[in-house]
Subunit: 369 residues, 2 copies
Amino acid sequence: MKLVCSKANLLNGVQTVSKAVPNKTTMSILECILIDATKGFITLTANDMELGIETTIEGEILEKGIIALDAKIFLEIVRKLPDNNITIQTDSSYKAIITCEKAKFNILGKSGEDFSYLPLIEREYSISVSQFTLKEVIRQTIFSISDNDNNKLMTGELFDINDNELKVVSLDGHRISIRKIELKDSYEPKKVVVPGKTLNEVSKILPGDTESDVYIFFTPNHIVFEFGYTTVVSRLIEGEYFKIDQMLSSDYETKIRINKKELLNCIDRATLLVKEGDKKPIIINITDENMELKINSIVGSMNEDIDIEKNGKDLMIGFNPKFLIDALRVIDDEEVDLYMVNPKAPCFIKDADETYIYLVLPVNFTTVS
Amino acid sequence: MKLVCSKANLLNGVQTVSKAVPNKTTMSILECILIDATKGFITLTANDMELGIETTIEGEILEKGIIALDAKIFLEIVRKLPDNNITIQTDSSYKAIITCEKAKFNILGKSGEDFSYLPLIEREYSISVSQFTLKEVIRQTIFSISDNDNNKLMTGELFDINDNELKVVSLDGHRISIRKIELKDSYEPKKVVVPGKTLNEVSKILPGDTESDVYIFFTPNHIVFEFGYTTVVSRLIEGEYFKIDQMLSSDYETKIRINKKELLNCIDRATLLVKEGDKKPIIINITDENMELKINSIVGSMNEDIDIEKNGKDLMIGFNPKFLIDALRVIDDEEVDLYMVNPKAPCFIKDADETYIYLVLPVNFTTVS
């Protein structure tokens, strides 16, 4: 095989597919990137069997061929070569020579035959959203998946398509994040659970363009994201997702409207008194037009008042400050509405149209303060 | 005690003195910053017994007093408070109340009586250099001190003052870094060894202004750096520094002139084949007008040619690539001169006036390649 391509193209391609290279594996072929120049174009592929990424890069094929190269070394080499054309040449014994200007690297590759190609997916059912929208919706929900493998479904996000709406849901047992996106077309109902890892990686490699679309295909076992010259294929998580509708309620006893940045900064300040892992709640005391936040720990105590608009009853309620911070950080509105019932019922942060709903369970503070 | 000062002033002061707070100590008073408002001004002090930093900040003293506050917590609180005036109030039981706008923190301080003040230094002998110059000279030499405590003198830098010249030297047994600075005045000869940790911290808190000076005072056991409203006092390392003059020589058999950036990038590329801790040398083969660099490791091999101007004999010599990279990174010249004798003698990188001299010992490569 012999091919020539620009450093910029090659680096971009290698960085993209590297996201599917597993950190730890006993199968050394999975640590490789496959360079396939057997057809008229150059494709790079990496595949950890759960998640696979393939991308096509521009370049000139001087001699057709195929090789698998160690992803980490190959990425480092490409990254550190001068900003010029890079030539990759291999022989029948899988020796690869990578040259750029006067620099010449020799590394040993592997046969492409052992490489696991991406599964062939029949592209029947697909939806499209802008790259920007998909990247945003992942950022706005991914923090509340669980990293505990005991309940596989909690490690993924529900993609729930209904007519012209895509609803994305994540939950970890203490909170639920819901975002709704209006689609340009109407689609058949479809519910799948996408692994959190896949969404994290997709979000990293998505350029995030508002003008360009991502096409999302579904099969019974896989989801496919296509954008630009890149294809991401991931297994779905099997099983039926949690029935979240019955956890949501629009009844409330206390509703407050508050400046988001002020609330976020205040909670952020309060948490500096709490060490990581220490489960000190922040206590919120809502009275007319005023909300007092306070926290007590072995280090000291802190309290602060914030102006609010209140509807309904006075209330004292405690929260894990991290859960409030996580939700507030991804809300772009200047003012947010919090809906509460009592100190033991969930608090909802949501906008009037419910394009976002963040449910946070309160914590018991009478026993800890 | 009760005082008011702006967040910006307080934060700057606390960050400055925090550099002298030890990470680990069994004496909890050393983890504190002393706020002294007993006289007409507010001083902050931290002191780990080796290194002490004191700074005076602007502010209003409403009630004189003194308190020691945990440095980490206090810094975090100040950092996260709104950008406005901060009030610190303490009572006779060392409770401190820190307020800013509507936020109010309560933490428990300590009596200032147990605090170790900075040693009183008679300011007799002093030199002055610009803040920029001192910051630069530390950066350009600090990398070749040793972090091995077995030889205390190697963990510091020699400050050698002679007439109107300050020579700064560091060495670790494999290499020597020397920088010479012309002083504005002439001074009595003076040689001291300053702890590397002190220089690292001074370099971090020095604003690096070209227009403002640092005044450096010496006593038999201490060095003092004074700049702005800040004073840094450090113990000196005792003992006689290495006689470096006899290690320097101006004889050479091979001299090359080379583009610094090209050489640096090339060595940087080569090292990606070498894992941390792996002692693979880079081998340099100097012939007429060409220098070939090559490296072999279990991962693969790399070689590259660079144009040079050569005087003297051809030479093949091996180096620890890190030592060349460290020296080249802090040289600002576009072209550098390397002087060598044979594969077992040190290589010198120096300019014509010897304002800098970097000595690097070669490594044996015949046994490893």
